[in-house]
C-alpha cells in the first residue's frame, strides 16, 4: 500500500506516493529526479548519499521516505545560489582539487558543510576523523580535507604545491 509523504526539498514543498519500504534516496532520485545524490554501497558505509535532514547530515540510503514526512531536506542541487553561484564549500572543492571522478563528491560536499557548521575552527585531524563515513576511491582525501579546512578553519590550510 502506498502512502503520501510531503516534505520540503531545497526550499520547495514536494509530495509523492511511496511504499513504506521506499528509501529516502530512492524518493529523491527516482521520483523527484534529483540524481545528484548518489548511492555507492548497501551497507551505510560510503557516504555518497549524504544529504541534510532538518540541518543535519544523514545517509539518505538508510532512512525511509516515510520517516522524512514534514522534514526539511537539502540536497547537493539546493546548495548553490539560484543564479548558479557556487556555495563556498563547492567553490573550495574546485579550488583545492577535492574531486576526480566526482562520484563521492555530493556526499563529501554535504558532509563538509555539516562539519564546517558544527565544528568551526576544526583542525586537520578532526576533519579527517569526521570524514570516517565518507569514502573516496580516487583522490587520497588530501584535496577534500584541504577544501573542508579552508572553509571551517582557513588559517589551518598549509601551502600546497599543485603539480
Amino acid at each position: 500500500m502506498k502512502t503520501k509523504v510531503t516534505l520540503t526539498v531545497n526550499g520547495q514543498e514536494r509530495s509523492a506516493e511511496v511504499e513504506p519500504r521506499t528509501l529516502l534516496v530512492e524518493l529523491l532520485r527516482d521520483q523527484l529526479g534529483l540524481t545528484g545524490t548518489h548511492v555507492g554501497c548497501d551497507t551505510t558505509q560510503c557516504g555518497c548519499c549524504v544529504i541534510h535532514v532538518d540541518d543535519k547530515a544523514v545517509k539518505s540510503c538508510t532512512m525511509l521516505a516515510v520517516q522524512a514526512q514534514g522534514c526539511n531536506i537539502l540536497t547537493i542541487e539546493g546548495l548553490a545560489a539560484p543564479d548558479g553561484t557556487l556555495h563556498p564549500m563547492q567553490e573550495a572543492f574546485r579550488e583545492h582539487h577535492g574531486l576526480q571522478c566526482g562520484f563521492c563528491t555530493p556526499g563529501m560536499v554535504m558532509m563538509g558543510v555539516d562539519i564546517a557548521r558544527r565544528l568551526p575552527g576544526a583542525d586537520e585531524k578532526t576533519v579527517r576523523e569526521e570524514l570516517h563515513g565518507n569514502l573516496c576511491r580516487c583522490t587520497g582525501y588530501q584535496g577534500i580535507v584541504e577544501a573542508i579546512l579552508s572553509v571551517a578553519n582557513p588559517g589551518a590550510v598549509k601551502e600546497h604545491h599543485h603539480a
Binding site: 532512512m63 558544527r118 563515513g133
Partner: protein, 263 residues
C-alpha cells in the same frame, strides 16, 4: 527489502498495542542497524513501529546522582550534551566515537542497547557504570541486561524508554576501532565510584562483561600500571576474521590502561 506496513504512533501505549497486535512487528528507532539488515533481507518484519514521534523518549536530564538519557536520544546529542560532558565525560567521548557523524545523527542509545551487537560501544558503559535500563514495564540492572550475542533480557513487546547512568567519580572509555567498520574490536570503560571500581568490556566476547580481576587491582590503586601483570584469559573471547582471541585478550589490557589514563 521486503515490504512492510509503517506506523508512527503518537503515544507509547499505541506503540505497545501495535507491537502486541501485529504478527511480526518491530520497533524502528534510528534505523542504523535495522535498515541495513532489512536491505540485506536478513529480516522481514510485517510492520515497523517508529518511535521517532514520541518526544518523551528524547533528551538528557540529571536526576540526583544519575544522568537519565531517553531511549530515542541520538549519539550526537549525547556526545554534545553539556551535563554528560561535565558529569560523565567518558560517556560523552564514547558516544562521539560511534560510527561516523551521519550515523550519530540518527542512531539512538535505545537502539544500540536493544540491539546488543557484541562490538557496540554503549554496552561497555552500561556494564561499567552499572546503568539501569528502564522499559515500559520494569527496570533492568546493567549486569543482567546483556544475555549473549544480539540477545538481551528484553521481551518481544517491551520498549526501552530510558537508560539511567549513575554519575561516577571518574570514568574513561577507550576503544580499538576496527579501521573499516568503526565498531570496537575491543572497547573498555573503567569507572570509579568511591572505593569501588567497575570495568566494562565490549567487543571482546559474545556480550559485554566485567573484568573483575582488573576491578580488584584497581580498587587498591587506580593507576594504569597496576594492570601490567594481569592477563585476561582468551578462553571465552571471540576469534574471527579480524583477529584471534589471544589478540583480543591483549587488547583488553591495553584499552583498560588507556581508559584509566583518560579517566
Amino acid at each position: 527489502m521486503h515490504n512492510f506496513d509503517y506506523h508512527a504512533p503518537k503515544t507509547l501505549d499505541s506503540a505497545l498495542a501495535l507491537l502486541r497486535d501485529k504478527e511480526d512487528g518491530k520497533i524502528i528507532a534510528g534505523g542504523m542497524t535495522l535498515l541495513p539488515t532489512l536491505k540485506q533481507r536478513l529480516a522481514a518484519p510485517s510492520d515497523l513501529v517508529d518511535l521517532a514521534t514520541l518526544s518523551e523518549l528524547k533528551g538528557v536530564r540529571r536526576d540526583g546522582d544519575e544522568i537519565v538519557i531517553g531511549a530515542m536520544t541520538t549519539h550526537a546529542d549525547v556526545a554534545a550534551n553539556a551535563d554528560v560532558q561535565s558529569l560523565i565525560p567518558g560517556l560523552a567521548h564514547l558516544a562521539s566515537v560511534i560510527g561516523d557523524p551521519a550515523v550519530r545523527h540518527r542512531g539512538t542509545i535505545g537502539g544500540s542497547v536493544a540491539n546488543a551487537d557484541p562490538a557496540a560501544d554503549y554496552p561497555a558503559a552500561v556494564v561499567a557504570l552499572n546503568a539501569t535500563i528502564v522499559t515500559n514495564k520494569r527496570e533492568i540492572a546493567g549486569d543482567d541486561f546483556f544475555v549473549s550475542l544480539f540477545e538481551t533480557a528484553l521481551e518481544r513487546d517491551e520498549i526501552i524508554t530510558s537508560v539511567r547512568f549513575p554519575i561516577p567519580e571518574r570514568a574513561g572509555y577507550e576503544k580499538f576501532r576496527h579501521p573499516a567498520s568503526g565498531y570496537a574490536v575491543v572497547g573498555v570503560m573503567v569507572a570509579k565510584f568511591g572505593d569501588k571500581v567497575r570495568v566494562g568490556v565490549t567487543g571482546a566476547a559474545g556480550s559485554a562483561f566485567r573484568a573483575t580481576d582488573f576491578e580488584a587491582a584497581l580498587e587498591k590503586s587506580f593507576t594504569p600500571d597496576v594492570l601490567l601483570g594481569i592477563a585476561v584469559s582468551p578462553d571465552d573471547l571471540l576469534s574471527d576474521i579480524h583477529c584471534t582471541n589471544e589478540y583480543r585478550a591483549h587488547l583488553v589490557n591495553v584499552m583498560a590502561r588507556r581508559a584509566i589514563a583518560a579517566a
